[in-house]
Amino acid sequence: MLEPSLELYGETFEKVDALLKELLAKSHARYAMIIDLKGFVLMHSRAVWAPKPPSLDSFATLIASNYSANTAIAKLFGETGFQEMVQQGAEVGTYLEELGEEALLVTVFDSSAALGRVKLFTKNAAQAIKVLLETSQGEAPDVTFDQEWSESTGALLDTLFGNEKS
């Protein structure tokens, strides 16, 4: 099976992208990202003044795993999950909001941003994104992954890992 974690394409993508930029502008956060719970980055936005982010793959994987672990901890105590998902270091922090059951909105901020504003605007953005996703009317782009695609991709595997021994 192949499907997007969220219906992020076409007009919906443009609108969500605008929401992420607005979130950064209003909260003065560094980065805003949408990741799925498998650890894949779905969308990301970076404030113009923000330094280069760390590896997004690593970051998304760690955030998704941490979220899953925290949810498991909450369940040990009979909770469905924790309501506040914020982490703060001396300089940098992260704040998470759920986007349905499959994805998260993650805001990364530093000491120049007030946590209260980060929370408020991240919650607002998450709400607006959820509404957009629920009302999305766009058709998913038509892509076919047929046998030819499988063979071409298999050839790339052989290039990377060497040919199979016959």
Binding site: M1, L2, E3, P4, S5, L8, Y9, F13, D36, L37, K38, G39, F40, V41, L42, M43, S55, D57, S58, T61, L62, S65, S68, A69, A72, A140, P141, V143, T144, F145, D146, Q147, W149, S150, S152, T153, G154, L156, L157, D158, T159, L160, F161, G162, E164, K165
Partner: protein
Amino acid sequence: MSTINFSAREINFKIVYYGPGLSGKTTNLKQIYSNVPGESKGEMVSLATEDERTLFFDFLPLDLGSVNGFKTRFHLYTVPGQVFYNSSRKLILRGVDGVVFIADSAPNRLRANAESLRSLRENLQEYNLSLDDVPLTIQINKRDMPDALPVEMIRQVLDPQQKYPVFEAVAQEFQGVFEPLRAVSKLVLEKLAQKA
């Protein structure tokens, strides 16, 4: 379940290395990281204890390249092998597309191999998956041990119906490391193409 990202024009797959403690799952990932060209790999993340046992997972992203305008990417994970980390193993299996099972050749680890495969079955069930749904290859590691059990004996325990591709390996020496990964990746790609 493979994930497509239309905006980034990417298809993402998740491959999990599973197996008993100390069978060589992290060693496999380290060898892959060391032997894949720089442009095809991302950062490797290891969440390990002080004595280098996997605590949560190891993670390595690989970029295969583009076909038909879509970049194909594999995210490789290991699970912690020690028995008491089952909750972590379960979390890592979320969204898995393929599994490389790493078996230990040592005679005293035969039962651990079998129990690990049983735990894989049980944990997949949590996601309403069975081993028939998820492509699997088996790597029988540590073939250089003087008392290594015969491959057929290990296979008889893990795969009596001979359903899965089996590869012998000495992961520490980078022997037989790429083969099970390439095989499971191809199975994952073929499965997707069949469904399409």
